[in-house]
């Protein structure tokens, strides 16, 4: 049978300028291979994703194989593109928070904080943000780093066939999300950080809950540590896999744990402190081997550092009980005062009483800010925070209006994912999964 009258229903053949191309979608591989085998220049292109369970959401990898070896790797992205940046241009600056929190859905607080720091820099009110609001932001960010790293570790292990670490990781993540729920009312996409401060103060009992959670987490992190650190199967799957050196990282714009795994202690919290990070005691974790195992170790140890920061925040918050969490400027501060009533969270009756019965000015401010928003002087800024995945930068442009002129997020996932090809080409196909897992891309952030 010649290749032209090959009529396997699972492997249709067509002639192209590059030779015969077979599309194999199922059936008996041996039979197909024998039919194709006559051609010496055979190349097998395997499409991995976009719905493959170990491609971190909707990532599509196009792999060109020579046997089990990957000779070329291309990423196909964009399946989760939702036009958040464009949408932000049609809402007020405050409403933007609700959009950007949905970009990298595993680290919403970082998106919000980076965006709000940018808006505040444009407004020129960076110095006026109340201390308590900044400490709450730092605490929420570090808790968020823990929950994000838990997913990275858990799903990373799951993708390599280890189920228990995932169960442990998600069990711990749930505790962090409980804290988020208590503080902001939501487990994810909280829109809790607002330009000028945070949406509301901590509820009573929050600090006690946080302290208890930190204690629990510190104890339970050991479960995963015992399971994975030094585990010979885990090491065989991750050691010397997905290697990327420092030069590769700088030229590809790779930041975060992947960069620190090459030995460079570059962490924006230390090198370019924002939100008062210079006042906290913590260590920047590095490793030197630059492989998947090093990145895993870094994430594992960063959990403990985050816990340290959360504890210091709790101490500070106990001392600043009762101080404001929003700027005093009534032309910027979000006016609504939330309170928990019989029918759920909403505007507090006291606030309604003030604006409806007592203060005309308060009513005007409320109305103007909620319908129209505040004006932001024209100009552009770039602010960056160290998200769990690396440098999360926000480029904001204002034309002086009540809506952003341009919102651009420099997503670490997007830039880090570019290094996939450099990490996996020349390696085994099974190691692709380990390499991608160690980059920890979140497709919501990649595609935005």
């Amino acid at each position: 049978m010649s290749s032209t009258d090959f009529r396997d229903p699972y492997a249709s053949a067509r002639e192209t300028t590059e030779g015969t191309v077979y599309s194999v979608t199922g059936g008996d591989w041996d039979q197909t291979a024998t039919e194709i085998g006559a051609n010496k220049e055979e190349r097998v292109v395997v499409n991995m994703g976009p719905q493959h369970p170990s491609t971190h959401g909707v990532l599509r990898l196009m792999l060109e194989l020579d046997g089990e070896t990957v000779t070329e790797c291309r990423c196909g992205i964009g399946y989760l593109h939702t036009g958040i940046e464009k949408n932000c241009e049609f809402r007020t600056w405050t409403q933007g928070v609700t959009f950007v929190t949905r970009m990298d859905y595993l680290s919403p607080i970082f998106n919000e904080t980076a965006y709000c720091l940018g808006v505040e820099k444009l407004l020129g009110i960076t110095d006026q943000i109340p201390e308590r609001a900044t400490v709450i932001r730092v605490m929420m960010m570090e808790l968020n780093r823990i929950s994000s790293h838990m997913v990275a570790l858990g799903t990373g292990a799951l993708e390599l066939g280890a189920l228990s670490p995932m169960l442990f990781a998600f069990r711990e993540r749930e505790k962090v999300l409980d804290v988020f729920e208590m503080i902001s009312g939501l487990r994810m996409n909280m829109a809790y950080v607002r330009p000028g401060g945070v949406a509301q103060d901590l509820p009573s009992g929050a600090i006690a809950k946080i302290r208890e959670t930190v204690k629990d987490l510190r104890k339970n992190f050991k479960d995963n540590e015992k399971l994975l650190v030094g585990n010979s199967i885990w090491m065989k799957r991750t050691k010397d896999v997905g290697y990327l050196d420092l030069a590769g990282c700088t030229t590809l714009g790779v930041t975060g744990p992947v960069l620190r795994a090459t030995g460079l202690p570059w962490d924006l919290r230390k090198t370019q402190p924002y939100c008062g990070y210079e006042d906290y005691e913590f260590d920047v974790i590095t490793a030197t081997s630059g492989d998947s195992y090093a990145r895993f170790l870094i994430r594992m140890q960063e959990l403990e550092q985050s816990l340290r920061i959360v504890e210091q925040c709790a101490d500070k918050l106990e001392k600043s009980e009762g101080s404001p969490v929003m700027v005093t400027d009534k032309k910027i501060a979000w006016p609504a005062q939330l309170a928990l009533g019989g029918d759920g969270l909403g505007n507090s009756l006291e606030h309604i009483r003030t604006i409806m019965g007592e203060s005309m000015e308060a009513l005007i401010h409320h109305f103007k800010l909620v319908t129209e928003g505040f004006r932001v002087p024209a100009g552009q800024v770039y602010t960056a925070v160290e998200s769990p995945r690396g440098e999360l930068g926000v480029h904001l442009v204002s034309d002086g209006g009540t809506r952003p002129f341009r919102v651009h997020f420099r997503e670490p996932s997007f830039n880090n994912l570019q290094s996939t090809a450099a990490m996996v080409e020349g390696g085994q196909i099974a190691d692709v999964v380990a390499a991608v897992a160690s980059i920890d891309p979140v497709m919501g952030g990649v595609d935005r």
Binding site: I77, E85, L264, G379, Y382, H408, F414
Partner: protein
């Protein structure tokens, strides 16, 4: 009031427009480490005054507006000169200013130097009718996807890019979604008899 005619709108909203201008060029001294960066660049690059259209220092950030013909040269010098050493290019962000005639499309490159712990920003502007900017992929390979994204969203063509194709939108998508003249889309929503227009057709305050 406020010039509203022929509408039942009694809210006082009259589409008032306040003018507001982007910050203009700055004069020396720029402050902070910006003078040093400018001096070093001037020393390392003899064509400095020809390549740099203007320098803007605003909100504690330095922006160098660069002629597109000189972009790659300046980028290489910023990366390779030991006293500058901007190892990281943090992507490229497009901005569309439809009112700036002749320089509607801007490409903004934030740079980071790990060696000196400094940040600066390069900005290149081109007309909509000739949206070509030389690619920086040969200088910072990591700009590959970022330039594809900016091409996808703004239609800026990066000459010399190894494979300038759409990255987020489907390959056969018409238009460039983040240009200001590209509609947001959306439908009207009716609720209890009242119709709420889609976001891009709601009133906006300027």
């Amino acid at each position: 009031m406020f010039g509203v005619k022929g509408t039942g709108d009694t809210s006082g909203y009259g589409g008032l427009v306040r003018s507001s201008e982007q910050p203009g060029s700055s004069q020396r001294p720029y402050g902070s480490y910006f003078d040093e960066v400018a001096d070093e660049l001037e020393r390392a690059y003899p064509l400095f005054s020809d390549a740099i259209e203007k320098v803007i220092v605003d909100r504690g950030e330095l922006t160098l507006h660069i002629k597109r013909e000189r972009l790659v040269e300046v980028a290489k010098i910023l990366r390779d000169t030991p006293s500058l050493r901007f190892e990281f290019c943090l992507g490229v962000s497009g901005v569309h200013y439809p009112n700036e005639k002749g320089r509607e499309l801007h490409a903004v490159y934030p740079l980071l130097s790990i060696t000196n712990n400094r940040r600066i920003r390069l900005e290149v502007s081109v007309p909509e009718s000739d949206p070509h900017i030389p690619s920086l992929v040969e200088v910072w390979a990591g700009n590959n996807w970022n330039e594809r994204e900016t091409y996808d969203m703004f239609g800026i063509i990066f000459d010399g890019h190894p494979a300038l194709t759409r990255i987020l939108m489907p390959d056969d998508w018409p238009g460039h979604p983040q240009r200001k003249d590209y509609p947001l889309g959306g439908i009207e929503v009716e609720y209890k008899g009242a119709v709420i227009p889609p976001p891009d057709r709601r009133r906006s305050y300027r």
